[in-house]
Symmetry: C2
Subunit: 122 residues, 2 copies
DNA sequence: TTGACAGTTGAACAACCACTCAACTATAGA
DNA sequence: TCTATAGTTGAGTGGTTGTTCAACTGTCAA
C-alpha cells in the first residue's frame, strides 16, 4: 500500500483516486446536478411538481390541494419559474401553471418508482 | 367554470383538483421522496456519492479528490451513513466507504444523463 | 512508550431557506 | 365606479445546514 503527500494533502490510494478523477464529470456538471436535485428536495415543491405533472393548475387550486397559503405557493412557483421548470399562462385574473421541463418530470417519476419499490427505513 | 369555497379555502377547478388528489401518492411517500432528493441536493454529497459509485475509497482519498478537509467529508459521511446510503469498512486506521443503496446510485446516474442531454440554462 | 496520522466529534458560525404577514396590482362583476 | 378576489412581492423571522476549528480516539511503526 503506497502513501503519498501531494500539495500538503494526504493520499492513501493514489491509483484509485486518479482513476476516479479521470472519469468524473466536470465540476460544473456535478454542481448543476446537485442544483437540480435540490429543487426536488423540498416537500412543498415535490407536491407542486407532482400535481403539475398530472394537470395544469392555478395557484388557488394548488394552495387548496396542498392545504397551504397562496403566498407560499406563489413564492415557490416564482423559484420554479426562474429555473424554467414551470410555465405560466394568464386567463383573466387566474394564472395557470404547468411543467416546462420534461427532465424534472421524468426524475420525479423515476424517484417515485425507486421509493415505492424500496423497503422500510430503519 | 365553477367556483367553490370549502373550509375557507378557495377552489377554482374542483374537478381537476379532486382528480389530481385521487392519484396523488400518500403524504409520507412524497415527503420521503423529497428527503431522498435532498440528500443529492448538495455539491459535496453529489461528488462523494459519484466517486463512491465508481470505487471504494477512504476518507483521506475523498478529501483529496474533492479538495476539502477530512472533517467536512467525515461529517457528510456520517449523515450518509445514518441514512443507510453509504457503508464503511475498517482496515487498520483507514476507513473505507462504499455505496450501500443502489437506488441512490441509479438516481445519480439518471440525473446525470438528464443533465448532460439537456441544453443550456438561460 | 512515544510520535505520527486516519478519522471522528461537538461547538460555533455564517449562510441559506421556506414560510408568514401585510401591502400591493390587476381583473371580473355588480 | 366600487368591491371582491387571484396573484405577486418584499421584509422579516425562525429554523436548518454546511463548514471550520479544536480537541479527541484509535491504530501503526519506530
Amino acid at each position: 500500500m503506497s502513501e503519498f503527500t501531494i500539495c500538503s494533502i494526504n493520499l492513501i490510494n493514489e491509483a484509485k483516486v486518479t482513476a476516479v478523477r479521470n472519469v468524473t464529470p466536470p465540476e460544473a456538471i456535478l454542481v448543476r446536478l446537485a442544483e437540480t436535485f435540490k429543487v426536488l428536495g423540498d416537500p412543498t415543491r415535490v407536491r407542486i411538481l407532482h400535481a403539475l405533472s398530472l394537470e395544469e393548475l392555478c395557484v388557488c387550486d394548488i394552495a387548496s390541494l396542498l392545504g397551504t397559503t397562496k403566498s407560499a405557493i406563489s413564492h415557490q412557483l416564482r423559484l420554479l419559474r426562474s429555473l424554467r421548470i414551470v410555465r405560466h399562462r394568464k386567463d383573466g385574473r387566474i394564472v395557470y401553471y404547468s411543467l416546462d421541463d420534461s427532465h424534472v418530470g421524468n426524475l420525479l417519476r423515476e424517484g417515485l418508482s425507486h421509493i415505492t419499490s424500496q423497503g422500510e427505513l430503519p
